[in-house]
Symmetry: C2
Subunit: 539 residues, 2 copies
């Protein structure tokens, strides 16, 4: 029997999502996840301990920061309302000083939460004039320590910059404040028949400004491309307080250097993004999802190529995970009791299709699956029959990071590389840890998980350990970066460099490239107040 | 009767293109057009006269250029073979010194045609050390005087950088030299089931490096997005000879500032692009085209919105032109004898669909057209029945620039703006020229034509005059730029700023934006040798 799970077998093609249900589903999924993230966040903050890893923290402060004085505090109090400031209250500061993975922790004494771009400008000008280093912070959902202070940098959080400025239903262009939460924006667009062109696990907490500042990738990049293509305009404040008003809503604008592109993915090192214009696609009328089991990574690749031919313009996600990920999901009961496929396959793939005509899409999916069967590329799979099943299938993929977090301290790597070698990295790191005698039950490292976005050649390598242990760290790094360099990959595919990978930039970029980056940084932030110690190598 | 042209009426849906034919067709169309462009080019060069307009040329040379000396010539001769250099031969220099519209003409004494990135590096280093200004030049198909010298700048032409470096059939990533011709690249990809993500009239001559340097838009941006999204990596040489080796083939790479983005659309003012990596989409199996006649621009907009719903993921072009454009096509016999619709409509739209399943696409097109008819949005239209008819319908749209050129000296403007006001600009400029008594048969201006890309809010305003006359120029400029500014548009949508619009940048970008651009230019090209007088305002 090919298809063993409750959803009807593929050949029956009884796929009954309506457009209306689809929107409900997405909102439903999103809400669930965001609550989980938020709960985790709170739990972490409540139980924060002193053994938080600080392995990557520089030995000493070298950014041009002076201590916060009474005059400084007076200034901030003069321009921000009481609810826009947190000063010297340790408990209140904690959620801003530490990242949600509890891996990075700073000691800022002041969080500013401006409500207007003008206030951001005043704050930055003051900080620049007075050599006070700052760290811009959005939803604090980053994985590389980019959004929390390293020492006592002032935190400028975009929580209060949360207004939608405009939406044009003809062009589909949305303009909003940087602090708008991705999920809420998507919900706003859903009511208007549009959707955000990006989607990621942290959508319930992350800010669009943070997404842009880190050039977030996510689940839909395969279909809708990167933010370098979909962001049409930005409003940003430079370190000296200058407001760059480049909130264009035009799809085409070839007037001068495309300055906004520099800010996309600059991780708050050049200024603070305060507003975003983004081109949003029409929300598809029909969505469906299949999960397939594969006997080899070779067949995963063949299936991807087949999907490009058969699903082509309606393919919206091609995600994979390995059997270790599935076992972890089961062990930590993330997905519930039912699993769509037995854990007999080394690899699983989730294929999502989104289109404007349900019967056409169903037929294309059918053709795709039949081709996989005929060519013996896949041996087992399920297709969602309704809203609930689509949610259920997606939750397998989306639950993996949570399952890893529950299992222990997680070393997370986000690598892009040519697809053919993508899983080899996971195998090689397992061999390395096994040889060193640290991988196994009751050992330092309990698991090595591989999952990610096949369509983008993007592997998420998660190494689950008892704690962040220098012995483990040294076995993994710089090995994982050297491996990436040898295979012409990128050490940071869709996350950021942050504090974690700033000093490893040279594994992906050449000295002339890094030199030019430093030149640009120096030109725009000569005092080095913006997000110091991160993004660029200190040496 | 709704559908009056030879192609069968829409409701019959007899659309018979096969995948194989499709590739043939595209190559066929491309070849035709490129030959025309090349012929025009040669004709222009052969008959070049001294009355070439130089209205926008600065009064005097102020770039840091010294005269070319024997030592300089000795250097160039030492690193380039004889066929890579043209020195002081006026006839041979002419095609490089003048643009194809014969609007801009410089007096360079030297054209260098390097064959390797290393040679480009040597040349730029020498020029930078010796304060010799240079103009990078690709296929010389630009419309704004960006690719020809203003005075005696050295021309560095990329003709000899013309090798395809690699193509990965799994990811669809192409890596090639900057001097590869767009059409040839597309032909290369066609044989492998892929296509270039951009397409424009000059494809038979333009270089991919020039496309990237000017961030060319074109006919398929609606579907495949801008080069900021599809270019994955660049190799570029800085003014000091430094080679930036950023030829990444990864879809995701968040390591440091995305430097390549600065070069996309920088029009040769920061360095010379020598290599390009680009993500290419799967070539569609089925393509079809309809041309529709509309009674109002309001209905054109309604049809566009309907196409977003009904054609959605298979919509690949939504182009429009006005009746004046059609009359010009007829008058200059560009299209041949047969016209698909009578010239009874003020507006015409070409809709192209491209997808992976012909019968699905046909049905979607049918639904789209029926919806337009039911809602009385359109009253007449034709759908291509075969290869030849698709070519024929496209040639209407693609023949417009040629028809304008044949009619006289053409003032070309390339404006993007919100779609609702898009055609108002054409109307307003007609009124302005009429009021001034210069528009009409036997007057200074014979015609004002509007056409372009509705899907991108991009109008090509072409004003056909007897010659480039200061009286006409002063009536149009800065009026057209002021109008654009008032309507929140861009004065340069998909062409470039070049020499023509450098001083008008302030109509679209704010002083802080321009200031930052100048800062970046100063930082990367401190001697100002790269493409002087262009792109950025001289004041």
């Amino acid at each position: 029997m090919y298809y063993s799970y409750a959803p009807k077998i593929i050949s029956q093609r009884v796929l009954q999502l309506s457009g209306k249900n689809l929107f409900t589903r997405n909102n439903f999924v999103l809400s669930n996840i965001s609550k989980k993230v938020q709960l985790n966040l709170l739990r972490n903050f409540a139980t924060i301990e002193s053994n938080t890893s600080g392995a990557e923290i520089p030995a000493k402060k070298h950014a041009p920061t002076k201590e916060l004085t009474q005059d400084d505090i007076k200034f901030f109090t003069s321009i921000l309302p009481a609810n826009g400031l947190i000063i010297d209250k340790e408990d209140d500061l904690m959620p801003y000083n530490i990242d949600w993975m509890r891996k990075y922790r700073g000691k800022s004494r002041l969080v500013a939460r401006p409500k207007t771009t003008q206030q951001v400008s005043q704050i930055l000008k003051y900080c620049n004039d007075n050599k006070l280093a700052v760290v811009p912070q959005g939803g604090n959902t980053g994985l590389v320590g980019g959004g929390v202070p390293v020492f006592d940098e002032i935190i400028i959080n975009t929580n209060n910059l949360n207004q939608i400025r405009s939406f044009d239903p003809i062009s589909g262009v949305l303009t909003c404040d940087a602090g708008c939460i991705l999920e809420l924006l998507d919900g706003y667009l859903a009511e208007r028949g549009y959707m955000m062109p990006l989607d990621l696990g942290a959508k319930g907490s992350c800010h669009i400004g943070g997404n842009v500042a880190t050039n977030a990738g996510g689940l839909r990049l395969l279909r809708y491309g990167s933010l370098h293509g979909s962001v049409l305009g930005l409003e940003a404040v430079l370190p000296d307080g200058t407001i760059l008003d480049n909130l264009s809503t035009l799809r085409k604008d070839n007037t001068g250097y495309d300055i906004k592109q520099l800010f996309i993915g600059s991780e708050g090192t050049l200024g603070i993004i305060t507003g975003v214009s983004i081109s949003t696609p029409r929300r598809p009328r029909a969505v469906n999802v299949a999960v397939l089991g594969f006997n080899s990574f070779q067949n995963v690749q063949k299936a991807f190529l087949t999907s490009k031919d058969e699903l082509s313009e309606i393919l919206s996600a091609f995600e994979f995970w390995d059997i270790n990920a599935l076992k972890l999901l089961k062990a930590h009961n993330i997905h519930g009791k039912k699993f769509p496929l037995e854990d007999n396959y080394p690899f699983y793939v989730l294929v999502e299709i989104s289109g404007s005509n349900k019967s056409h899409d169903d037929e294309k999916l059918q053709n795709f699956l039949e081709k996989l069967l005929t060519n013996e590329i896949v041996t087992n799979g399920v297709v969602a029959q309704d809203d609930t099943q689509i949610t259920s299938l997606w939750s397998l993929r989306e639950g993996i990071p949570e399952a890893c977090s529950k299992a222990g301290a997680v070393y997370k790597y986000d690598i892009s590389m040519p697809v053919p070698v993508l899983y080899q990295m996971v195998k090689d790191i397992r061999i390395r840890l096994q040889s060193a005698g640290v991988l196994g039950e009751d050992k330092l490292v309990s698991d090595v998980i591989g999952y990610g976005h096949i369509g983008d050649g993007n592997l998420h390598l998660n190494i689950v350990a008892k704690s962040y242990d220098p012995k483990v760290t040294n076995l993994i790094e710089p090995y994982v970066y050297e491996w990436t360099e040898q295979h012409k990959g990128s050490i940071s595919a869709e996350h950021g460099l942050g504090l974690m990978k700033a000093d490893y930039l040279g594994y992906t970029k050449s000295p002339p490239m890094i030199s030019l980056m430093k030149q640009i940084k120096q030109s725009i932030d000569p005092n080095g107040i913006m997000n110091p110690y991160k993004f660029l190598p200190t040496q």
